[in-house]
């Protein structure tokens, strides 16, 4: 065994153990902030696995998108609504946990079956290493153009939706234009939802 392959094996073992234990931690730890930070660790380790597979562009994109954007956004949301309130005990929590555990175990069994029955020895396409960036770009603008554009339209829709929800003055104009709203709600409102904010 050469130095390169043994380093690769050690890295793979470390990364996969971090992924498995981190993912378990995300699900099982009660503190939601810890779960979110662990999720970041899992994303980073997945990026490490991509690096081991010689897919450096995908690894960097994974860090940029999942760690830098998704995970930071999750943390942001958690910290902005960081209320230290006692949650009400949910009825039948044990039974719920049991059933969800069963579903997860079933999924795991399914994955194991796939793992055992698939013939992994068939050689895949040759790794292209550094020119992967160009190849990904070519594919995105030729044969994968439609899914790419659909994904961007979906993201645009989500963004417009978020902006509409966040902008209160848009809602207020809609409220004022409809007649079916009882007048007393508008009069008693202390919220500045219904004020015209377009002037400032």
């Amino acid at each position: 065994m050469t130095i390169a392959t043994s380093t690769e094996l050690i890295c793979f073992l470390i990364l996969s153990s971090v992924i498995v234990s981190g993912a378990l931690g995300v699900v099982l730890i009660d503190n939601i902030v810890y779960s979110a930070f662990l999720l970041g660790g899992v994303f980073m380790s997945v990026a490490g696995l991509y690096l081991l597979l010689n897919a450096s562009f995908v690894a960097a994109a994974q860090i940029l998108v999942y760690v830098g954007a998704v995970n930071v956004l999750i943390l942001f949301a958690i910290m902005l609504v960081n209320k230290q309130e006692e949650l009400k005990p949910i009825k039948g929590l044990k039974i719920r946990r049991f059933f969800s555990g069963c579903v997860c175990a079933g999924l795991l069994a399914l994955l194991f079956r796939v793992d055992i029955t698939t013939n992994w020895a068939t050689p895949g396409p040759k790794a292209i290493g550094e020119i992967a960036t160009e190849r990904i770009g070519e594919h995105l603008f030729t044969d994968y153009l439609l899914p790419f554009e659909l994904a961007s339209v979906l993201l645009l829709m989500a963004m417009i939706g978020a902006i509409v929800l966040a902008r209160r003055d848009v809602i207020s104009i809609e409220l004022e234009s409809t007649d079916s709203i009882p007048q007393n709600i508008i009069n008693n409102s202390t919220d500045n939802v219904l004020l015209d904010q377009s002037s400032d």
Binding site: T2, I3, V33, F37, G40, M44, S56, F57, A60, A61, I63, L64, V67, G68, A69, N71, V72, L75, F76, M79, L80, N82, G129, E130, I131, A132, T133
Partner: protein
Amino acid sequence: MFTTLKIVLIAVVNPGLDLERSFNHLLQGMGLPSSIAHLLWLPLPMLLVLTAALIGVLVTVWLERKISAAAQQRVGPEYAGALGILQPMADGLKLLVKEDIIPHKADSLLFTLGPILVLIPVILSWLIVPFGQNLLISNVGIGIFLWIALSSIQPIGLLMSGYASNNKYSLLGGLRAAAQSISYEIPLALAVLAVVMMSNSLSTVDIVNQQNTTGLFSWNIFRQPVGFLIFWICALAECERLPFDLPEAEEELVAGYQTEYAGMKFALFYLGSYINLILSSLLVSILYLGGWGFPIPIDLITNSLGQSPNAPVIQILAATIGIIMTVFKTYFLVFLAILLRWTTPRVRIDQLLDLGWKFLLPIALVNLLFTAALKLAFPIAFGG
């Protein structure tokens, strides 16, 4: 015959010094196998770059103290060494021996992990900083994209330390830092994208080589003046320097996410911010100011003097000039950043977000579009 062809090919592909090859040849000459030689070589450039970064921080801290003193008509540090040049060492030593305080109700695990997570991505990004054709740790294909990806890890560390301090100022500072970092990453990436489009490569070495065809006038700053300004503003914002130092605004937030930190953990934040400043300046000089390039191409000088550019003495001279040019450009930008810090007032948070989202982002998009159009129209000047 094939071996000579191979050697010629290597000389064509790898012009300039290649210390790794010489080191491997040396160790193999002493009877070591090539894998061991490679293993012995690996830590050397990393240690060298780490040392360079740390010395860079010491110099920058000294410059910051001296220039701020000059801006405020004081003398500044004076007694520690000549002109107070040892003052940063004294600062570092003081932080090293200070008590490491973890507040009683703080989350000690996250509190310790936060500063580390802030520092590591910054240091890792030095992987792609070239000081010469072969004078970098690794010429990875994704180059500059690696830096963009790594710098997006930093907000997690800031949020972590802000949350773990169990202090409202820290939490607010952490949230502000994350918001600022996310907002300014987008115009920054778009400005980089315009440069990448012109040089057809993400690799920092290729980006510099593409700028050094005709010396001074082929530097990207003349082809991307808007991109240069966008990148510089965003880099200052990413480094949390004044006028964008809202995360640690002293008058409002005590010291932001660093409020509860003391001793070596505070020093990690301090180091991180200064290494980040130097890194950003280095990247500005690589992306826009021709990196290691001398204003007059070295090849032109050697040819006019009748020397071969592959002669060892010329190569060593060229490498030295390259390193000096990189450091000179970088410290010029550091000087500008320090001058900006001590002469401009802080922006408000709404002004900061307005500037990022409503001004820099559209301008960066238009810049990208213009670059694409110019590249199609004038492929000679804009790297067709």
